[in-house]
């Protein structure tokens, strides 16, 4: 069977990729997608730990359910905000909405 560490490292890689995406994607939607990657990496971690620690423990898995629910809400709000930005700035590139700085 695959080891916990292997899986965890894979998840960490996913996490890092997500972070890289957040940091580099110029398109706001790209950032939102990358955030989803991060969430997924965390979700996977929870599942992995649940399976590895104590198979009878379900809290990790339940957490994942909550995360998915919250992620949905967050995505909805995020996209709503995105449209708002689009409406205001006619653009969704991150370097376009920087009226405020300093």
């Amino acid at each position: 069977m695959i080891t916990v560490k292997e899986l965890l490292i894979i998840n960490s890689l996913l996490f890092a990729i997500g972070i890289y995406g957040v940091l580099t994607r110029r398109n706001t939607i790209g950032i939102l997608m990358s955030v989803e990657l991060i969430f997924n990496s965390a979700c996977l971690n929870f599942v992995v730990f649940t399976r590895a620690l104590n198979p009878t423990l379900l809290s990790g898995e339940v957490f994942v359910l909550f995360i998915i629910a919250v992620a949905a809400a967050e995505a909805a709000v995020g996209l709503a905000l995105l449209f708002n930005i689009y409406r205001s700035f006619k653009d969704i590139a991150t370097d376009r909405y920087n009226l405020m700085r300093g």
Partner: protein, 471 residues
């Protein structure tokens, strides 16, 4: 499972529902507004009387002295912000119901956060707080800055949530528990596994983001500047305090045996926060942005109290936050009122305010001086308690830095007061205040002055609850 411990939360949820329904049914936004003000006052008053402590949901919900104090403060914040929002909503009244729904759900998130004893509740509460905040930031849809603020806040908040989640998963993996008590038990038995450290770091980062510690502070000025003023006021106090509430709980219960390490970590963070916050406030021209940096600096002082990880340290931090609430809301109150009258948030717009409204000027004077730590205002005692504690715990260098930076803070606060009192303005038409504005400012001023002159009762109250909490 004692659901009666959740009275406050239930009442507040009820209020949310009421507002929601009223907004749908009643054509009058006015009723909604007054219902919101009255309701928030009601919940706040209720919070003063509901002092029941205990656990519910198998430790997922903890009601203790500390959380009760924080809850009262959150509710007070909500109440004052509701009053201060009235003017704003009269102009942007279309979404009054939504506005209050979001404010109160955010407040509910804070309440839950202060009471959460387990990671899931913690996470959900935090998201409840955050998601409402994102929307609130972008509330003025027609304003580019507002949209920008909402988007920035949301993106960074999501990143922070992601990091928090990953950190939680690692902690969960390392300890096998989601409950704070379980985590604590696991961490205190045997050596702390490295992934737990990594997890804790991620959690700390996420919370530092909420309390705007440097270098996780960068969203603050932008969001404060872009968000509608009442919303910025709400964040500046509520979100920050909620972050501190949960940090305190996490570090004193869940990660309790790592105190010495995170003590120094917090000290470093606080030093960076105090320096950056204070320095960057200097060149600001927008008052809300300015208040953003000022609030960053204030958070730095609170962190000193956290760094001590002692009863007095925590009590000082809580006291500081309470004082900060009054002073900061006073300042924001003035900002909201002036902003609505002069249609601008530049510091230069405050020129000649003393002529236009002595009361507002005095309020601003008192609040800023309190934030600057001038006796005998409440901010001074906050700082005093913090410094006293830090001195006791060997953070003399931090005290020196804090004291020095207080001088810097006096400088920039005086730069604002200079406009208010010294620089003349061509427009000398007096500013008239509504009842609500007067009321909210008076309450905050009373707190700033009252707890400054008589800090003892409040401090004792906080001290005793923190002491219980730590045992």
């Amino acid at each position: 499972m004692d659901i009666s411990l959740l009275k406050l939360e239930l009442i507040l949820s009820g209020l949310i529902g009421l507002i929601f329904v009223l907004d749908l049914l009643s054509g009058s936004k006015k009723i909604v507004r007054y219902a919101a003000v009255a309701g928030s006052l009601g919940v706040f008053i209720a919070s003063l009387f509901i002092r029941q402590t205990g656990d519910a949901f198998a430790g997922a919900f903890i009601s203790d002295g500390l959380s009760l104090i924080f809850k009262s403060l959150f509710l007070l914040n909500a109440f004052i912000v509701s009053m201060l929002s009235l003017g704003f909503l009269e102009k942007n009244g279309r979404y009054t119901g939504e506005y209050f729904t979001l404010i109160f759900s955010s407040t509910l998130g804070m309440l839950l956060l202060a009471s959460s004893g387990e990671l899931i509740t913690f996470y959900i509460a935090l998201e409840l707080l955050s998601i409402s905040s994102y929307v609130l930031s972008a509330f003025q849809k027609s304003e580019q800055k507002s949209s920008e603020a909402g988007m920035k806040y949301m993106l960074l908040g999501a990143l922070a949530s992601g990091m928090l989640l990953f950190g939680m998963s690692l902690v969960f993996g390392a300890t096998g528990s989601l409950k704070f008590s379980g985590i604590a038990a696991s961490l205190s038995s045997g050596s702390v596994p490295p992934i737990a450290y990594a997890g804790i770091v991620l959690i700390v980062v996420a919370m530092s983001f909420k309390i705007a510690a440097v270098p996780f502070h960068m969203w603050v000025p932008d969001v404060y500047e872009g968000a509608p003023s009442p919303v910025a006021a709400f964040f500046s106090v509520g979100t920050k305090m909620a972050g501190f509430a949960v940090l305190m709980r996490l570090f004193l219960t869940a990660f309790g045996n790592l105190r010495s390490e995170w003590g120094i970590l917090m000290a470093v963070l606080s030093a960076a926060t105090i320096i950056i916050g204070n320095l960057l406030a200097i060149p600001q021209t927008n008052i809300k942005r300015f208040m953003g940096y000022s609030s960053i600096a204030q958070a730095g002082f609170v962190l000193i109290g956290l760094a001590m990880a002692t009863v007095t340290g925590l009590a000082s931090s809580v006291f500081y936050l309470a004082g900060y609430l009054f002073a900061n809301l006073t300042a924001f109150g003035v900002i909201i009122i002036v902003g609505s009258r002069v249609e601008g948030d530049n510091i230069d717009d405050y020129s000649g305010l003393a002529k236009r409204s002595p009361f507002l000027s005095l309020a601003l004077l008192i609040s800023l001086m309190s934030l600057g730590g001038v006796p005998p205002l409440v901010g001074f005692f906050g700082k005093l308690y913090i410094f006293v504690g830090a001195f006791e715990n060997g953070f003399a260098w931090l005290v020196a830095l804090g004291v020095l930076m207080s001088v810097v803070s006096i400088y920039y606060y005086l730069m604002v007061l200079k406009r208010v009192y010294i620089v003349p303005s061509p427009d000398t038409s007096p500013i008239k205040l509504t009842f609500w504005e007067k009321a909210s400012l008076s309450i905050c001023l009373a707190g700033t002055l009252g707890f400054g002159l008589l800090p003892l009762p409040l401090f004792n109250e906080i001290l005793s609850s923190v002491r219980i909490f730590l045992q």
